[in-house]
């Protein structure tokens, strides 16, 4: 047993941290948050050049072949930097969908573009309010044409193509590729609690769609969500850790009643609780990273566990960071809200905590029945 990242990956982490501290400081996040640009384009290009976008894409498809552990390490750092880039959509969800379900031709066509950044992909599942559920899929792909609306689609306004969950001619759930610049596609940028990450509503009115691979059925979607949940858990842990450090630093700097506020137990114990939540989440995320790398049978349960822990930890860390800062904590100019927004965005992106908790227990029950 070896429950830690390799030295190579730790080096990648340190390098990524230094890079992002420079290339994705709060100023860059605010650029997107305040509508200056739809995502951090220069940062994205730099990430492409470093090979991050194809981190887990096999070399035969133009990727860096760092494997999933490498992707996890990068995700944690991107989370820490609240990076305003479509990494989760393009490098986890779209790339994973292609790897899981795509034909060899589709992989050959699209994966190299995702890896070099010449294409940005997104994943279109939600159709309005609700958590992931086959019963909520009503977009149809009939005769190779998509009809219906998907929203919110993370990065849907900046992606070039989407992997769309839709019903095929037989009414089965399946994945389809849609060129978002094609006829019959209209997009609308959405306002969300986290404007530092793009979201769109995509309406398909008979847009051309290409079936992704040959498999059908909801378990494919479920599997994709599980794999993405582990990667997002690393983003969440990274974000939570950054929020905790910001709170800790402020608690040391800020004086009240003649002493640093970090010397009051109300602050000390609050931040200790945040630390505990993050460490539990981090450990569960590590287990998820292993399950992902090893493609282990434990992956679904590991993913649900990592997601539940990480969602709780990031929300707690983000809100108590604001609280620790007091008044300035809720102003626009101080960076606390970047984490708070992102914590809720990530909490909802792949289905909210109640849904994952339900799923976790379902998996426990299945395991115990076996």
């Amino acid at each position: 047993m070896n429950f830690d990242f390799s030295d190579d990956l730790k080096q990648l982490r340190d390098q990524a941290r230094r890079f992002l501290a420079e290339q994705s400081p709060p100023k860059v996040v605010r650029q997107v948050l305040e509508g200056g640009e739809p995502y951090a384009v220069a940062l994205w290009q730099a990430m492409a050049e470093m090979g991050w976008l194809g981190a887990a894409i096999p070399e035969q498809y133009g990727g860096a072949g760092l494997g999933y552990e490498g992707l996890c390490v990068l995700a944690e750092e991107l989370g820490r930097a609240v990076a305003p880039v479509p990494f989760a959509s393009s490098a986890y969800l779209a790339a994973e969908a292609l790897l899981l379900a795509g034909s060899d031709a589709q992989k050959r066509r699209l994966l190299p573009k995702l890896a070099d950044g010449s294409a940005v992909g997104c994943f279109a599942l939600a159709e309005g309010t609700g958590n992931p559920d086959p019963a909520h899929v009503s977009v149809r792909a009939t005769g190779g044409r998509l009809t219906g609306s998907k929203w919110p689609v993370m990065d849907g306004d900046i992606a070039g193509f989407a992997v769309v969950v839709a019903r095929d001619d037989g009414g089965e759930t399946a994945l389809f590729l849609a060129d978002l610049a094609a006829d019959g596609v209209s997009r609308r940028k959405l306002t969300t609690v986290d404007p530092s990450r793009d979201h769109a509503r995509i309406d398909f009115a008979g847009a051309a769609a290409e079936r992704l691979g040959a498999r059908t059925g909801w378990p494919l979607v479920q599997r994709l969500l599980e794999r993405a949940a582990i990667l997002v858990a690393f983003e969440q842990v990274g974000g939570a850790q950054a929020a905790l450090e910001m709170a800790r630093d402020y608690a040391l700097e800020r004086y009240a009643f003649g002493r640093p506020i970090g010397s009051f137990q109300a602050i000390k114990h609050k931040l200790a609780d945040v630390y505990v939540a993050i460490e539990l989440a981090r450990s569960n995320a590590y287990y998820g990273a292993w399950a992902l790398s090893a493609d282990a049978a434990e992956l679904p349960l590991a993913a649900a566990t990592a997601r539940v822990s990480a969602t709780e930890a990031f929300h707690l860390a983000a809100k108590e960071n604001i609280q620790t800062h007091g008044g300035i904590g809720f102003t626009w100019d101080v960076d606390c809200h970047l984490y708070y927004r992102r914590s809720k965005q990530l909490a909802l992106a792949l289905g909210s905590a109640p849904w994952w908790k339900h799923r976790l227990v379902e998996l426990l029950e299945m395991r115990n029945a076996a």
Partner: protein, 405 residues
């Protein structure tokens, strides 16, 4: 114990109802009422018009002395009026601080002729008041304020900065506490004034909040002159005067936060999730807390109506409500699932009320006394536990550490 109106109360309730029916629109629950900070010019005019109407009908200051336009009536009648007004969409948010904190402080400390000048215009909404207490270096440690006032003839000259001043940009007058002697321990060197917010040397800058609103302001003072006649309380007694103001703050009727538990119940019903045990238990918990607060206020009002002084136990309200609001908002988004983050008016559930509250609720746990300060108040003043160990208590203010450097 009697929950029903006495004959007098019933008569008053009928009177209030008649007034409201004739003068206001019934509220629809669906759409929350605007708050201060979202107030544009039109809204300010509407607030002022409504306040004048309310004052003229005798509903603006129910428990105040008659000579100031009040009814000298029991606080219970105030509760009754609020219960009735809650059913109407009336413009609010502009006068709470003036009438709830500033003018009551004036009544305790100002001269009779000053009261004759200022009270009625405030009551009728003709003049708006704000409260200038907090400072950047102060925060929870309110008395650590650094804005200086120096005596110059019959005037005092104020230099420094206040922050978190609600409605400063809409105000005609303000009350302010400043340091008049930095060489004594911090609570001893303060004095209290009221001033004209149009005085030369005052600059007001709105604070942009993460929610997008700008309820609060920074207020900068550069050689602002205030006549000594506008001092409230003795020189060096500013802290005691401030405590009067803050005590009145605790008496003010708490803001109604939306979304409340009824909104959550409605959301769960709309999403067909109200049968879920987890949803039900949360709704029950929040409902029990909401009711507990409501009836705690009734107990307070009963005590007040018997002439008792309300104590720091009223800190309960904000402590419970602020976290409840944040939790309900966050949970509401969870119930909405993947679309919970969307705020577009035409797509978001419940007019994006939950999303707006997610972004505005962090301030509720901080402004007007943070959770941590409120727990300290309860622990010390209600339960009689010892104060925190103080390293700044007996030192001259100028020698208290203010940072690592």
């Amino acid at each position: 114990m009697d929950f029903n109106d006495t004959p007098d109360e019933a008569a008053f309730r009928a009177e209030a109802r008649t007034f409201l029916q004739a003068n206001a629109e019934p509220k629809s629950r669906a759409r929350p009422v605007l708050r201060l900070g979202d107030l544009g010019g039109d809204a300010v005019a509407q607030c002022k018009a409504w306040q004048a109407k309310k004052a003229d009908a005798g509903f603006a200051a129910i428990s105040w002395p008659k000579r100031f336009g009040g009814r000298e009536a029991s606080p219970i009648l105030q509760v009754i009026y609020h219960q009735e007004e809650e059913n109407y969409a009336v413009p609010r948010g502009l006068f709470e601080i003036g009438l709830g904190m500033c003018i009551p402080t004036m009544m305790t400390y100002a001269q009779p002729e000053q009261l004759d000048r200022y009270v009625r215009p405030a009551l009728r909404g003709e003049e708006v008041w704000c409260q200038l207490f907090s400072e950047p270096a102060g925060g929870s440690d309110l008395a650590a304020l650094r804005t200086r006032a120096e005596r110059d003839g019959d005037d005092w000259v104020i230099n420094g900065q206040k922050i978190w001043t609600s409605g400063a940009h809409l105000s005609d007058f303000g009350i302010i506490v400043v340091r008049t002697d930095p060489n004594v321990p911090k609570h001893a060197g303060l004095s209290f004034f009221f001033l004209d917010m149009r005085s030369p040397g005052i600059e007001i800058r709105p604070i942009h909040q993460m929610s997008g609103a700008s309820h609060f302001n920074e207020v900068f003072f550069t050689d602002v002159r205030v006549p000594d006649a506008q001092r409230l309380g003795a020189v060096g007694q500013g802290w005691q005067v401030s405590l009067t103001t803050l005590m009145n703050e605790r008496l003010a009727v708490g803001e109604v936060h939306r979304p409340d538990v009824e909104d959550l119940l409605e959301l769960a019903r709309a999403l067909m999730l109200s049968g879920n045990g987890a949803v039900r238990e949360r709704i029950a918990d929040w409902y029990a807390r909401t009711q507990g607060l409501k009836f705690t206020r009734f107990r307070t009002m009963t005590a007040l109506s018997r002439g008792q002084t309300p104590g720091p136990e009223n800190s309960i309200h904000k402590l419970v409500n602020a976290s409840k609001l944040q939790d309900i908002a966050s949970y509401g988004l969870d119930l909405m699932g993947m679309a919970g983050l969307v705020m577009d008016d035409d797509l978001a559930e419940a007019y994006a009320m939950f999303q707006q509250a997610l972004l505005s609720s962090p301030s509720a746990r901080i402004a007007g006394g943070s959770d941590e300060i409120l727990r300290n108040i309860i622990a010390e003043r209600v339960l009689g536990l010892p104060a925190d160990i103080r390293v700044d208590k007996d030192r001259p203010f100028s020698q208290v550490p203010t940072g690592r450097r």
